[in-house]
């Protein structure tokens, strides 16, 4: 019990004093996960809207695949990316293994189905009568899609936050493809595993606090954005 209390106090001190090790690892985590989120959003949001709006044979199969992808185990993603990027793999020539780009790639694969699937659901939830009305007002397909995404913004934001939450907190994929190299690929989750194994609970707890604070901040953002709705009669 004393160990836990002492570790907690020390962890709080590390966070408050902006300990260089904590800051460095936290910033790298943000660099990897925000980079992956940006790429996933740029692909996943338009793809989700497109899937919601098109009528094509095979759409149900694509939807089922995306929903399956929403539950991909990160460690399996890590394994596949590892095999792709390893020296003998098809993408081995890139030399990305144990680098930040490899970690971003793995996290994009985790977040992309989630953002695509949630965006698709959010756009499908918009009143279907709106689309012909937008076209009847002279909207091009791209303008109508943009308006529908704005209407579905709450759901899209939830998808982005869920995507961010899933990758900032995952450990399996970044551990496998990043290698947890100090000063290069060590992020909060992999550092927590390492520090815990080595009995340095204070740094592990400090990083855990930062992770929790990030999760809280992103969820607070969702609540605040959802709160910006009119008072209905």
């Amino acid at each position: 019990m004393t160990t836990l209390i002492n570790a907690l106090f020390e962890a709080v001190r590390l966070v408050i004093t902006l300990d260089p090790a904590v800051v460095e690892i936290a910033l790298r985590s943000l660099q990897v996960s925000l980079g992956a989120l940006l790429i996933s959003a740029l692909i996943g949001v338009p793809a989700g809207a497109w899937l919601a709006l098109i009528r094509l044979p095979g759409k149900r199969l694509a939807t089922a695949l995306i929903y399956t992808g929403m539950g991909l185990p990160p460690v399996v993603v890590g394994l596949i990316v590892y095999l792709l990027l390893s020296r003998s793999g098809p993408l081995g020539g890139l030399g990305w293994l144990f680098t930040i780009p490899a970690m971003v790639l793995a996290q994009v694969i985790i977040a992309l189905p989630l953002i695509t699937g949630v965006t698709m659901s959010a756009v499908l939830a918009v009143d279907p009568a709106l689309r012909p009305q937008l076209r009847a007002l002279g909207a091009t397909p791209a303008q109508a899609t943009r308006a529908l995404l704005v209407e579905a913004r709450s759901g899209v934001i939830v998808g982005l936050v869920a995507g961010f939450g899933s990758i900032i907190s995952e450990v399996g994929a970044v551990m496998l493809v990043g290698g947890n190299i100090a000063g290069r690929t060590r992020v909060m989750t992999t550092a927590i595993v390492l520090e815990t194994r080595q009995g340095r609970f204070e740094l592990a707890l400090a990083l855990g606090m930062v992770l929790l604070a990030l999760a809280f901040a992103s969820n607070l953002l969702v609540v605040l954005l959802q709160g910006r709705q009119p008072n209905l009669p």
Binding site: D127, A129, L130, P132, Q133, R135, A136, L137, G138, A139, T140, Q143, A147, V150, E151, Q229, P230, N231, L232, P233
Partner: protein
Amino acid sequence: MSGPLYSLTAVEMSYGARTVLRIPDLAIRRGEVFALVGPSGCGKSTLLRLLALLETPTAGRVQLTLNGAPVTARSASLEDRRAIAMVFQTPVLLSRSVYSNVAYGLRLRGEQDSAARIEAALRQVSLLPLAGAHARTLSGGEAQRAALARALVLEPSVLLLDEPTANLDPANGRLIEDAIRAHHDRRGATVLIATHNLFQARRLADRVLLLLDGQPVEVGPTEQFFNAPQDPRTATFLSGDLIY
């Protein structure tokens, strides 16, 4: 420009195995107010969507001739489409202010400095005091008026209205009719209105078409349609004895 605005030839519209509209031949003149009447489910809304070039008929041809060559839903340019505005029976507004909803179509066209036009359109449907209100806070009648303002502000050459006064009280209904008439008189616009309200058709239209079971029964000048119908089914419908 001579010739009809719309020309329909052997038009059929089917959803699955069900054919909901079958019009062998119909011409709609430019600048006229044309009313579509008939019982619920007779194909009025389907016909309006075809005329708005939002859908392509299963068979036959719906041609629109604005200023140049005739176009269809497949060949119409964005400019052609933007000459048409349609107000749907159940208006769906964007989740933003009433003002922003009315401004939406103008913004699509890249038109800036349109505040005066937006305010005029809102004033025309008596919604100026609610310009800043969120669209979700409007009553059904207010939403219907906002949807009409959203179309009128575009000053379309062709205005298509699907039951524009359904669920409105007589005062609001009259307000909307006045706005439609004013738009027609000012712009020389062609107005097509689908309505259950025979009195409204009589007040507004130059010509009236009766649809039954997706097929035209009679089309003619308003006075003749109401006072001397040529088809016994029209007379039955007008007398209110037609049971569906």
